[in-house]
């Protein structure tokens, strides 16, 4: 008597890839804009990046319905924080909040693979990377999603950041300039789009620095 398998899953994978790189005084977050299901494309122009606070951006790949619900919960929690503290949440605070929110649903997780990027209280770039249930770490760069397996080794080659376990603690930010980091990101996605069927269409890049926030777009392969 074999165990009966579920014939319905509450989850779906909408594909897509996210990347974030932290610099000395900037942070770059990028994600493709393709949303798929199975072998079909649902949208060529769906943004996976959201601004949660003044200095925090989140990009998430995975099941976009769960991603959207997660974004709404974080936005509501941020409003409450602002009412209580009269100020915006810092990026490290938002990082902890995201971790707690994900673990809250430990036994029915948000199918969301997140990277959080922004500026910390000293103005330096910070990137936090997560798994689906909230385990997180501050890193110098990160990639999540269907193209992550193609992009991460490349970023390791270009940017290898020091281990957070090293003593004395070394800065996790990359020595690259802002424009170099943006070019690197564009290269990552151009390459990933070649081989990953779930990544392509358009690339949305958001850059956060002391002067504020700005967006760039790049066309990617549409096949």
């Amino acid at each position: 008597m074999t165990k009966q398998q579920a014939n319905w899953s509450p989850y779906d994978n909408n594909g897509g890839t996210c990347v974030a790189i932290a610099g000395a005084d900037y942070c770059v977050i990028a994600a493709d804009t393709r949303m798929s299901t199975g072998y079909s494309i649902l949208s060529r122009d769906y943004s996976k990046i959201i601004q949660l606070a003044d200095k925090s951006l989140m990009a998430s790949s995975g099941f976009q319905a769960d991603v959207r619900a997660l974004q709404k919960v974080l936005a509501a929690r941020h409003l409450i924080y602002q009412h209580q503290h009269n100020k915006q949440m810092s990026c490290p605070a938002m990082a902890q909040l995201l971790s707690n929110t994900l673990y809250y649903k430990r036994f029915f997780p948000y199918y969301a693979f997140n990277v959080l990027g922004g500026l910390d209280s000293e103005g330096k770039g910070c990137v936090f990377t997560y798994d689906a249930v909230g385990s997180y770490e501050r890193v110098g760069y990160s990639s999540q999603g269907s193209g992550a397996t193609l992009i991460t080794p490349f970023l390791d080659n270009q940017l290898k950041s020091p281990s957070p376990l090293l003593l004395p603690a070394k800065d996790a930010v990359t020595p690259l300039s802002e424009s170099e980091a943006i070019d690197l990101v564009k290269t990552c996605f151009a390459s990933a789009s070649e081989r990953d069927i779930y990544t392509g269409d358009k690339l949305e890049i958001v850059i956060l620095n002391a002067s504020g926030i700005r967006r760039e777009y790049l066309e990617l392969r549409k096949d």
């Binding site: 709404k72 919960v73 509501a76 409003l79 409450i80 009412h83």
Partner: protein
């Protein structure tokens, strides 16, 4: 005599059909320091007097942001006011979460519980929705009314008299004039004390403008522009007139001002307060 028998419990009616606990709660509102609200078609201005309990302490916050499009000014038991503000903020957040649109103000105004004591605070709720700007007054009885302009708290009658004279002009008033009228109305409640940015708070919201509290510099500048200073009290001895057009406001309560006899400026001077 009858009043005392039926006033212990909020759930007991008096033979005359009154709930005394609720009426007593409304008295608490009259004890609080004044709060004023006015609205035009496009803006709402909330203003309140900051009364510190002693010179050593700071004043309590009486104007709260509930959402980008809703603000509330309270008079009475400020602690109760804060509880209600927190509840209203939650309601707005939950509504936006579910409907992805701002909570219509009219839905916010019903908040009483029957098994606890009534809230001892009056709320002036200013908000924006699709039909424009609104001002509501919510009293401890749970009733709410919509107003063009209203004042609550101690010495609010003076402000109401001013507002009753001018309210017909508010509908089409500009943002600046609305604030100016709020300052004038606020001055009426001070009755002799000088109006400065340190004893009042002003908040504005409007179409295209999220709720915000004006900072002290802006308020002082507006007070100076509109020459909204305290009036001479009737028969105080040795009043020391202050200049009313932007010069340094003199220390209002110092008796040493008696020595200064400068020519009074066009409008009025402020007399030191005897406390």
């Amino acid at each position: 005599m009858f009043r005392n028998q039926y006033d212990t419990d909020v759930t007991t009616w008096s033979p005359a059909g009154r709930l005394f606990q609720v009426e007593y709660a409304m008295e608490a509102v009259k004890q609080g320091s004044a709060a004023i609200g006015l609205r035009s078609k496009t803006h709402v201005v909330l203003a309140c007097v900051n009364k510190a309990s002693s010179e050593l302490s700071s004043h309590q916050k009486k104007i709260f942001k509930v959402d980008d499009h809703i603000g509330v000014a309270i008079a009475g038991l400020t602690a109760d006011g804060r509880v209600l503000s927190r509840y209203m903020r939650n309601e707005c957040i939950n509504y936006s979460y579910t409907y992805e649109s701002p909570l219509p103000v009219g839905r916010l105004v019903c908040t009483q519980r029957s098994w606890k004591r009534p809230y001892g605070v009056g709320l002036l709720i200013g908000g924006l929705d699709e039909s424009g700007a609104h001002l509501y007054y919510n009293c401890p009885s749970g009733n709410y009314f919509e107003y063009q302009a209203f004042a609550i708290g101690s010495r609010s009658q003076a402000a109401k008299t001013y507002l009753e004279r001018k309210f017909e002009t508010f509908v089409d008033s500009s943002r600046e004039n609305l604030i100016k009228d709020a300052l004038f109305a606020l001055r009426e409640t001070l009755q002799g004390e000088k109006l400065t940015s340190s004893n009042c708070t002003i908040a504005v919201l409007g179409i295209g403008e999220a709720f915000s509290t004006l900072d002290q510099e802006t308020v002082q500048r507006l007070i100076n522009e509109f020459e909204v200073v305290g009036e001479d009290p009737p028969a105080e001895a040795a009043a020391a007139p202050d200049q009313s057009d932007g010069a340094e406001p003199g220390p209002a309560a110092a008796a040493a001002d008696d020595d200064d006899q400068e020519t009074p400026a066009a409008d009025q001077g402020a007399a030191p307060m005897d406390i």
